[in-house]
């Protein structure tokens, strides 16, 4: 029997696979948070996680958390420093990989989380948070996006988190994980690596607002194993981050 799983659970697994053992990871909230815990529990037991509020953890939080400041993310941490301390480590080049989400993306991996007029009226988004810093300073970045035409734009209205640009000193977008597939961004263009089970090349082309390289025969993203699913459902028991709906309950 094939276990059923949600797209979000598949994205968590894909995020976990981007973390190699021994790496220092700048962890975001939502799916990357679960991906970090999953990687630690499976193939990357010695990975270390930094949180922008200053928390450093080498094991996942003991209970479900909604924000990185929640008490279960503090208890059992290896260190609780300040924001400037972990950002300094990031700037120094001590962070191998960081995760960032965005509302809009362009072919160079520029992310917009600040403001957009793509719908015809001005919409204010929350802003950079640590995203712009991770994009600038991490050894490589993994981007997490909902795959919709209005979000995949030839040019984003505002570059909150810089992608590839001439003169970049370090890092840049390496991988893009979306609701439809996994894409390589390391060469300054978006190239499909695997499509999630059931997704066709045309689905991806139709959901992308710019020309995108999708070969007609691509492997399917490997589905979560029973153990991986069990981990995710322990970490997110109500499906708050990984349920079918993108919106909170």
């Amino acid at each position: 029997m094939i276990a059923t799983y949600t797209r979000k659970e598949l994205m968590v697994v894909a995020a976990a696979r981007e973390i190699h053992d021994g790496e220092v990871v700048f962890v975001g909230m939502r799916l990357p948070l679960l991906g970090f815990g999953l990687a630690k529990a499976t193939h990357a037991p010695t990975a270390v996680g930094l949180f922008e509020n200053g928390v450093i953890r080498d094991r996942p939080a003991e209970a479900f958390i909604y924000t990185m400041g929640d008490p279960p993310n503090i208890a059992g941490a290896v260190a609780c420093l300040g924001l400037n301390d972990v950002m300094s480590l990031l700037q120094q080049g001590r962070v191998d990989v960081g995760f960032i989400g965005g509302a809009e993306i362009d072919p160079l991996g520029n992310l917009n989380t600040t403001r957009t007029s793509s719908s015809g009226t001005l919409v204010r988004l929350p802003g950079s948070g640590g995203g712009g810093d991770i994009a600038s300073l991490a050894g490589r970045t993994v981007l997490i996006m909902e795959h919709e035409p209005r979000r995949f734009r030839e040019r984003v209205d505002y570059i909150t988190s810089p992608g590839h640009f001439p003169g970049r000193r370090r890092g840049g977008p390496a991988t893009l994980i979306t609701t439809l597939g996994v894409f390589d961004l390391s060469r300054g263009e978006v190239r499909a690596v695997s499509l999630h089970p059931g997704v066709t090349a045309d689905d991806v082309r139709n959901a992308t607002g710019f020309p995108i390289a999708v070969a007609d025969s691509l492997p399917a993203t490997a589905p979560p194993s029973a153990d991986e699913l069990a981990y995710i459902r322990r970490a997110d028991p109500d499906g708050f981050w990984t349920g079918d709906s993108m919106k909170p309950r």
């Binding site: 400037n84 640590g130 995203g131």
Partner: protein, 269 residues
């Protein structure tokens, strides 16, 4: 924070890296003229609707936004805390935040390295911080989620420490490395248990997640926000009344009664 709204303060500038719904409430209540921040919204829910209405429609008033990343807010406060005009950084190069930014300018490395960005010092008039415990002189112990609390307290000429409990100064002296803010920097110390709710305070309060979500739902409309504002701010005189309005059952659920104590450290001379 709610008292600022009750006193009808106006034209405030808010400073913070990532703000949760506190900024949204102050903005939607019309107290704010300018926001200097990296992220404004509702961390678990997403959009801050009050912030969006102010920014997109000028409702209830127009606000000026000084966009930052977390690190540039941190560096701006740190520069002020260090008594410097600016601190250099590599963050933000290649992006739009730094373009035409009033507080971020290109700067040459005097030692011949690659060009940098200078983040100008940011000195808030007042820092309001919540800590676990302080003595009557304002010497403050805090632990857990630090963020930019310490930088803010150092940068601002006036710092108000709100604490869960005022303790004898001997207790503070027993663990001086945990004193993140020395009392001579503190203008006023306020004992206000539960003063940070619905946010968490390590070892004292869990995060009241339901309140963040219900505010997120209600604040979607102006009418919803106004009813929230009446119920939770305008019709209540003070913080103890807010806690009573939350109700005993909720407080009991949020109050941390378990103990997981840090190992002691020997300070014997």
């Amino acid at each position: 924070m709610h008292e600022i709204i009750r006193q009808q303060r106006r034209d405030l500038t808010l400073v913070g890296p990532i703000s949760d719904m506190a900024f949204d409430q102050l903005i939607a209540a019309g107290t704010v003229a300018k926001v200097i921040a990296a992220w404004v919204g509702n961390v678990a829910g997403g959009s801050g609707y009050g912030f969006r209405r102010a920014y997109e429609q000028g409702q209830p008033r127009r606000i000026v936004m000084e966009d930052h990343s977390n690190f540039t807010v941190g560096l701006a406060l740190k520069a002020a805390a260090m008594g410097l005009p600016y601190l250099p950084t590599f963050t933000g190069i290649g992006g739009d935040i730094i373009r035409g930014h009033p507080r971020i300018r290109p700067v040459e490395d005097p030692f011949g390295g690659p060009d940098l960005l200078a983040v100008g010092a940011l000195k808030p008039d007042v820092a309001i911080i919540h800590v676990q415990r302080a003595d009557a002189f304002g010497n403050a112990h805090l632990w857990g989620n630090l963020g930019l609390t310490v930088e803010a307290a150092y940068a601002a000429p006036r710092t108000i420490v709100v604490c869960e409990e005022i303790v004898p100064d001997e207790m503070i002296r027993s663990d001086p490395n945990r004193t993140m803010i020395p009392g001579f920097l503190v203008t006023a110390v306020v004992e206000e248990p539960g003063g940070a709710l619905p946010s968490s305070v390590q070892g004292y309060w869990r995060r009241d997640f339901e309140t963040f979500l219900s505010y997120h739902r209600l604040s979607r409309t102006v009418e919803g926000f106004q009813s929230w504002l009446r119920e939770w701010v305008l019709d209540l005189p003070d913080r103890p009344a807010y806690l009573r309005h939350m109700g005993g059952a909720v407080l009991e659920r949020l109050h941390v009664t378990e103990r997981r104590l840090a190992a002691t450290a020997n300070f014997a001379p």
